[in-house]
Symmetry: C2
Subunit: 198 residues, 2 copies
């Protein structure tokens, strides 16, 4: 398999992390996340959103969207529950991640890491405030729970871990969220875990 | 089942449409989409995002996020493919919908329908331009295809239809997208189809 990748992207990290935990490998092809001028040429026929991650299967077919790739890789393994309700809960957290979490926390982090001199302070403050609301919702849910869904580590934890554990890089402190911090430690202690820098 | 609903919301319409096509019913409880002050009291223990739709099962458990609800209702029926790749493609389009499509097209439509005098013209223009890029990507994909995934109508079509067919209410004309318009007609001709106003 080939994974169109960005080292900084938490969305790509989700895929690299699950691949590692499944004992699978993919050839990484790095794409720039600031200069996107080559995206139509590289990804035009593969991904309508022209984004990384995009996974190319051995037969040449492509799958886009980080959480869809996780399901393609993970369904039928220990990382996806068999129970119908728990499967829907995994998806619920992943859609929450893409709608509420990533557009605020990942975006704040991207600007502070990549374009700190160009960021609009008012927009940054908005992303950070929304980020705190999102992590506050996770905190409330994780109080008394080990993982986001059911009793074990699932794709939901991979998806939410990716940008939550680096939220401080977006200026979003985790100091006020002890349940989230304990969950981050549990996720990082899972067999086969690799860091975002790997 | 109980569905916390908003008549205007395309996200809620997805659920009402699939329920109708599955021959299922839920008691609708309408929540206001402008005055959200009662959301914490009503949805606080049910949905970390405090949004509609939220589906309450007969045993009291809750599922949030429109596309996760569709999977809970639809997996194992004719509306979800059995093939592993096609299942991932359905999810890919649904994540694309929540990340790229809904935040632009639904938001433009919401402001023009509900708060036309208060909308920021610059933001509106941005949502509309992004909406055209998204529908352009759908147009390219649908050329020569009957439906978004495989050869049949799936959850992906329900999810993308919801806000695409009302995009003109957000000031986003579909005139330039003949493949999208033909697909809209095919979706609306499916057995058991109901309009968003039902």
């Amino acid at each position: 398999m080939i994974l169109y990748n960005s080292a900084i992207s938490g969305n790509c990290y989700k895929v690299r992390l699950l691949l590692a935990q499944l004992g699978l490998t993919a050839e990484l092809r790095e794409l720039d996340v600031v200069d996107r001028s080559n995206r139509p040429a590289v990804l035009g026929s593969l991904n309508p959103a022209l984004r990384v991650p995009t996974l190319i299967l051995d037969d040449g077919r492509a799958i886009a969207e980080s959480n869809a790739i996780l399901w393609w890789l993970g369904d039928g393994t220990e990382f996806v529950p068999a129970d119908r309700f728990e499967r829907a809960q995994v998806l619920q957290w992943q859609f929450f991640e893409q709608y509420d979490h990533e557009p605020n926390i990942a975006v704040a982090r991207f600007w502070l890491l990549k374009r700190p001199d160009d960021v609009d302070p008012e927009k940054l403050a908005g992303w950070q405030a929304a980020g705190h609301r999102v992590i506050g919702a996770m905190e409330q849910h994780l109080e008394g729970r080990e993982f986001l869904v059911g009793n074990g580590y699932t794709l939901a934890d991979i998806s939410l871990y990716a940008y939550t554990h680096v939220a401080p890089e977006g200026g979003i402190s985790l100091d006020a969220y002890p349940a989230v911090r304990a969950w981050i430690e549990r996720v990082a202690a899972q067999p086969g875990h690799i860091p975002i820098t790997a």
